[in-house]
């Protein structure tokens, strides 16, 4: 029930929109009554303006014919966003909730089209914070060319969630002929990334304020479907793409090595990491290869296409810093090895839990 859009204008007739007149969100705003309708009208409908797909119904209704014109398979994904703090250098939870789901569609070779937006709000959240997040979501969606067409709002008691949780699901259409897979990597393939790694993870850790470090590091949060489109147009034979979010580059490489039953070798001196992130990791005893990214993809392409793929990535604003970081090998299946800057070799394994800062 209670979709964000359910109070949308009926039959195209302009309808009086409610306004939230208090400064904090309370349980009343989740109660299904006037307070909730005011919240939806004011915050969400004010931000997302989709008349066509959002009649006064419990579901968005999307044209199959329009979608079929774009490709031959539907891509469908969902992700929940619980980042703390909800506002951080380079973005906020709303931007993340749009970009993250857009990217999850795009790395499958899909054209992202429609998103849902479901919010769980902790009572006491300032109305202005919710408004700011909703506006960011709308702006990010507009820039990405996707539409938020359905949603839901819940308010829970203090302590039942942390300020604001957002779930977005997304649908997109996969172009005919594109068939990417984590099990398709072959020995000799090149491994590319589209730029500096670890910015998002470092920015979030720093924004929590525990370390009292002053750094200019910002989250790299961005919608990557434009960049991916450029890559796939230049190199249709691309084998696999994945956004290197939680667990960072190291985790994605391990997933590829495992699923494709291949070895992977990367080179520390070719792995792009800005010196502020390196310094941040040095101080805290963290490994930047495992830090989260929100605007970086790992690409596996045939060796013969590596140069073309790199040029395609570099030609896009979100890929200026692209680099060829290593290759798929016929080494031990499932194993990722890094040649260190120092000339040694080490295994880059999957992380067991969360990275914990070292004591000394």
């Amino acid at each position: 029930m209670s979709t964000v859009m359910e109070a949308a204008a009926k039959n195209g007739k302009p309808r009086h929109r409610g306004k939230v007149k208090v400064s904090t969100i309370t349980l009343a705003h989740g109660g299904g009554g006037k307070a909730m309708h005011d919240l939806i009208d004011d915050i969400f409908l004010g931000a997302f303006d989709n008349e066509n797909e959002s009649p006064l119904e419990d579901q968005a209704r999307l044209s199959l014919a329009d979608m079929a014109a774009l490709g031959d398979r539907l891509a469908f994904t969902t992700d929940s966003y619980v980042v703390q703090p909800i506002d951080f250098p380079g973005g906020n939870i709303g931007k993340l909730a749009i970009c993250g789901t857009v990217n999850d569609l795009a790395v499958g070779g899909a054209v992202p089209l429609y998103l849902s937006c479901s919010v769980i709000i902790e009572e006491g959240l300032p109305v202005e914070t919710m408004r700011m997040v909703a506006r960011t979501m709308a702006e990010t969606a507009r820039e990405a060319g996707v539409r938020v067409v359905t949603g839901d709002t819940k308010v829970v008691e203090r302590g039942a969630c942390d300020k604001l949780f957002i779930n977005t699901a997304g649908v997109g259409v996969i172009r005919a002929g594109v068939d990417l897979g984590v099990d398709k990597a072959q020995p000799g393939d090149a491994i590319l990334v589209n730029g500096l790694l670890g910015d998002h993870g470092a920015a979030i850790l720093n924004a929590r304020g525990d370390m009292q470090l002053t750094t200019p590091i910002e989250s790299d949060c961005a919608s990557l479907h434009g960049l991916i489109d450029a890559l796939l147009s230049a190199v249709p034979a691309t084998r696999f793409l994945r956004d290197a979010t939680r667990g960072g580059l190291a985790t994605v490489l391990n997933e590829i090595a495992e699923a494709s039953q291949v070895g992977i070798e990367i080179y520390e001196n070719r792995t792009p990491i800005r010196s502020e992130v390196k310094g941040f990791c040095e101080i805290l005893g963290l490994d930047p290869l495992y830090l989260a990214n929100e605007g970086k993809i790992v690409c596996v392409v045939p060796r013969a296409d590596a140069e073309r793929a790199l040029a395609a990535l570099k030609s896009h604003p979100l890929g200026h810093g692209a680099a060829n970081v290593g290759e798929v090998t016929d080494g031990r299946a499932g194993r990722v090895v890094m040649q260190t800057v120092f000339g040694g070799r080490r295994i880059v394994d999957m992380l067991v839990g969360e990275q914990l800062p070292r004591i000394c």
Partner: protein, 385 residues
């Protein structure tokens, strides 16, 4: 990155490695023995760097590195973790700890599990953060899990001094600080030990200086070189140890002069002296009880001592029988020779403490070390050389 990249320069490494490749066979031929030269890095920070940069894969076959007991998280006995968990579960308690102590297994729970089960366990980066938490929560008790060698001892001591000065009543320490010298002595006295020299700890020495190590050279006739934590520091330190062995010298040398003064840090030592006194003995995981190896809070600061203020179970829990952490710590066996390594004991389900922290030898091998690769690469290195 300034002050870091210089110490990771592969060209300089190549030069040192060539020297090392000459020294090793020279030492072996003088001894008329093909046995490897055993060098122990005492400090967990060294172990971590050795694996992270693949230093071991670059060394010739004639050197074996023994990853010593210098990871304070690893040598913590299970009974002490149980005490932490008991403190953390006390009503109204906020229990604060360094991050990598969160996963150390107790007999029932780790601190991470205690947190999931409702205890208020918070990760801090400095004991002073705990003091801040105590000030912000005057109606609750805040207990800091004080842990580590002389490296972390000064910051704990300064925190206690400040708490006293500011009259803070709701802050305590659960003191598990340990000292390095009695530990090295216990290792040297161990009958099954085979060691030719030491890479001495850098940050501990920054506090205690280098004179306290003299007995190692004078009495036990082993060379020790205090080294920094960058890979080039480690190679340089190893080269200095080998050079001493080749020259027939046993000295305490300092490779880490940019950080370690001969006399240590007197301000830090003063603070430690005020707040801490030696315990008669302290229990180590894998090594058993070592005399005078732990410290506790002096009477003058007793109000900040969690062991005096609260009742902790203080039960001695024997190490799991299948664990061979002690033998690994002393270098008697390699991690992968342990019966449970990589089988029952993994970083996900650590039985022994060496599998817990990224500074523990077993976790380091499990995560970074490809045993076959280490041997393969070393054979290749030999062939090329």
């Amino acid at each position: 990155m300034k002050y870091v990249d210089e110490f990771r320069d592969p060209e300089k490494a190549r030069f040192l490695l060539e020297e090392i490749r000459v020294l090793v066979p020279q030492i072996q031929s003088e001894r008329a023995s093909a046995d490897p030269i055993y060098i122990m890095e005492v400090c967990g920070g060294h172990t971590h760097a050795i694996f992270r940069y693949g230093v071991e894969t670059m060394l010739p076959k004639g050197i074996e590195l023994i990853h010593g007991p210098g990871c304070p998280v690893c040598v913590l006995p299970m009974g002490r973790v149980d005490d932490c968990v008991a403190l953390a579960h006390m009503p109204g308690m906020i229990f604060t700890t360094f991050g990598d102590a969160m996963r150390v297994p107790g007999s029932k729970e780790s601190l991470l599990q205690a947190k999931a089960n409702g205890a208020d366990v918070r990760m801090v980066y400095s004991p002073l953060d705990s003091l801040q938490i105590a000030k912000a929560n005057p109606d609750r008790q805040v207990c800091f899990f004080a842990l580590g060698f002389e490296t972390t001892m000064p910051s704990t001591a300064l925190t206690v001094l400040r708490a006293k000065q500011e009259g803070i009543k709701n802050f305590t320490l659960f003191c598990n600080h340990i000292t390095i010298i009695p530990t090295i002595k216990a290792i040297l006295d161990s009958p099954d030990l085979q060691l030719d020299g030491f890479l001495g700890p850098g940050h501990v020495s920054m506090v205690i200086g280098n004179t306290s190590y003299r007995f190692i050279a004078e009495h036990y006739k082993k060379p020790l070189v205090i080294a920094g934590f960058e890979p080039l520091d480690i190679l340089h330190g190893l080269w200095m140890v080998l050079k001493q062995i080749a020259d027939g010298r046993c000295e305490i040398e300092n490779q880490y002069k940019r950080v370690v003064p001969d006399g240590g840090n007197t301000v830090a030592l003063d603070a430690i002296g005020k707040v801490f006194e030696l315990r008669e003995f302290f229990e180590w995981r894998g090594l058993g009880s070592i005399d005078h190896s732990g410290v506790r809070i002096t009477k003058e600061y007793a109000e900040f001592d969690a062991e005096r203020r609260f009742s902790v179970p203080a039960l001695k829990i024997a190490d799991p029988k299948s664990c061979q952490c002690g033998e690994v710590l002393k270098g008697v066996i390699k991690p992968w020779d342990c019966k449970v390594f990589g089988r029952e004991c993994t970083p996900e389900t650590p039985l022994g403490a060496l599998m817990v922290s990224s500074e523990g030898a077993c976790a380091a091998y499990y995560q970074y070390g490809d045993i076959e690769k280490i041997h393969e690469t070393r054979e290749l290195v030999e062939e090329v050389a």
